[in-house]
Symmetry: C2
Subunit: 466 residues, 2 copies
Amino acid sequence: MKDKKQNILIIGAGLCGSLLALRMAQRGYNVSVYEMRPDLRKTDISAGRSINLAFSDRGNKGMKLVGLEEKVKALCIPMNGRMLHDRDGNTFLSNYSGRDYEYINSISREGLNALLLDEAEKHNNVNIHFNKKCQSVDFEKTTAYFQDTITKREFIEDADCIIATDGAGSALRRSYFLERKFLFSFSQQWLSHGYKELTILPDAKGAYKTYKNALHIWPRGDFMVIALPNLDGSFTVTLFLSFNEGEYNFNNLTTPEIVTEFFQKEFPDALELMPNLVEDFFENPTAPLGTVKCSPWHYKGNTLLMGDSAHAIVPFYGQGMNASFEDVVEFDAALEKHEGNWENVFSEYEKTRKKDTDAIADLAIDNFHEMKDHVGRAIFQDKRKIEMALEKAFPKAYSSKYSLVTFNEHIGYREAMIRGRAQDKAILNMLSDGIISTEAVTEETLQKVKQETEAILEDDRIAGLH
Amino acid sequence: MKDKKQNILIIGAGLCGSLLALRMAQRGYNVSVYEMRPDLRKTDISAGRSINLAFSDRGNKGMKLVGLEEKVKALCIPMNGRMLHDRDGNTFLSNYSGRDYEYINSISREGLNALLLDEAEKHNNVNIHFNKKCQSVDFEKTTAYFQDTITKREFIEDADCIIATDGAGSALRRSYFLERKFLFSFSQQWLSHGYKELTILPDAKGAYKTYKNALHIWPRGDFMVIALPNLDGSFTVTLFLSFNEGEYNFNNLTTPEIVTEFFQKEFPDALELMPNLVEDFFENPTAPLGTVKCSPWHYKGNTLLMGDSAHAIVPFYGQGMNASFEDVVEFDAALEKHEGNWENVFSEYEKTRKKDTDAIADLAIDNFHEMKDHVGRAIFQDKRKIEMALEKAFPKAYSSKYSLVTFNEHIGYREAMIRGRAQDKAILNMLSDGIISTEAVTEETLQKVKQETEAILEDDRIAGLH
């Protein structure tokens, strides 16, 4: 098979596409990548896309697969927990795990993407073409139709197979939907909230103006601000807010006065760190937050959707990039098993993977509510305290839902979701009934939580759920 | 307001559109209806659409609203329960309710639609135009673009507001989706199974060949056949089967021999009643089964989706038509409250209604699995026995999920779903744990089921679900 030097066409050289290109090159395929944007190593094209991202264990599996774990580490800023900010500017650090060695990282999208492109281009069998926008894909003929965004020249490329890693607005997915040649299940769900990026600049000495090693959150029930650190001493700040509901919303924040008033009232300590707030606010775009699911991902052995093109999710679990990197790992395993028969590779990959990307999509929406609202409520805070204590006292015996999703990369998202939700339900109900408390978290607490979790899972099983 | 004689344009004169037209005429509006098909009172256009339907209490609310309850009763054939047929031809009647006065009805789509059209046309302020296919809607200008399917003439109509009752393939919904002028959440989900209609003809004397007053089911785990009676002594039979999975599927049932072999093996008693099987099988189309959800349904006060155009569901709860008729009742209530301000009418209607149509969509998919599979399993049969006994012994104190959905039209589908699912879970788990049994269904059983149901609902509430 490898002697045949099959030609793989990848649409999109973002994080997923460039990792996939690198891996396919390592496997000996001829890889052509077409990207609609200019080369981000030569041009500043950050506008409208998130500047930094949360990088964690599932993403790291992808880096290990291609031998880049150490190089990526140099780009990472560890974030050990959530730093919560109340309206009075009081802060409270809530660790992501009771185990010190479990944390997530802030990483630059541009820096990581550039590294992956550089590594891919070290292979002679990889060619990356920028400024080539895919218009549509003929999945019967396995050809893709492009336009050069500079010369406007239009052209068609064919390949032995086409893999679309062209993001939430995927051209291949649109072709699947519009052509109506097979039954294509599809959903796009928008949140009521949008987001806007802002910045906390470094201080005069280039240092961080607030605590570096945390993901900062200003939860306010119906809206929130978050901030992630960058290597240059700045933080990228994101405001999540309804488009048209509530006293303040994106539709009515139309003047510098109202924007300042809103931040003064709701986020005074953040406002102090952002003298540039008004400028950023009116310069940067407001973007919507959507979830995309679809099926099938592949058409025969000809074409395949991967990454955000197959499963765009909202950012609230910090798993978008990690899920896309894990896609490449799962795809590589399916390829290892069925190499030589693309239809079997694609079909095995979708069968093993889709249940997990459906789960992380749902978990990400759960976390939207958790981050903006639950983190501020007493019973959820008590749950968190108990889980931190359990993880600290019994590091090998207990993992919270957050840990299962984020740090237990050996189990799938779906298993993490089912077990994690049952645990949450067990702890919240036992807290409510006074069966456990934050006062004394002991071996007995652990056993009670485990037993109640199993009982919940068993009840669901008998009822024919899951 | 009523003096202004506002012009309402309705797209689609199916069951929902014709009921809506009648109701709006009763309220004094000028109503124009455009239907793409010929007038079904003059032409046979049954092909490809289900011939008969299940009509029950929620649908009857719509009939009461317009004063047609008695006229519709004449079209109904009561079905008191499910008649289950096993492979050996043994039958077992499982009632829909322990209360004798609760049953569903088989009704002819054509007969009911014709009645509604006749009644609507009795009003001078209603005009119905057939053979006019809507191509798209300009929801900013409140105009609809049509083509006459016979003359091919194209024309534009405007109105004070446009309501699309044009079914699962709605032109207005397509315009919402493709125009991208606002954030439109949309999903279409296809089942792995399709369906094909067949017929059990009357016997030589014109009589029913099998028991008339039941919905017949031949459940076989991965597929099933059902049959509903018609007034002329025939039954309309539907085969639900996977397109491409299992030993027999729609893709491989390609010859008369294989089709006969399949029925001989799986449905021998049905085959005996259908000498015309092979002819029907190869003449009638195979159709897919899809669920459509979307939001928002309305654009300002200009346009609104109603019925299947807003929420197409699979047929397994027998609630598609009933939900559409209940739509008209709910819409009428919103109109009563906000008449004079279409935007408020539409927005109130969607707010109160969407949670319920989302719920019946999910319930209908649950019932797909229940009908083809669960009805044949011992624990689910025991649950059904206990529920029948409870309904019989305590008719005012207990209603099963099926009863809540079908016969408790004073509560919404969502409440019926939440309570019904909790009850199912309670009974299945208490059966599994030996806490209740089918041997003795007493007042104590009722109390246990009620307590356990409440406990399940409370646990979910504390965990932040629902």
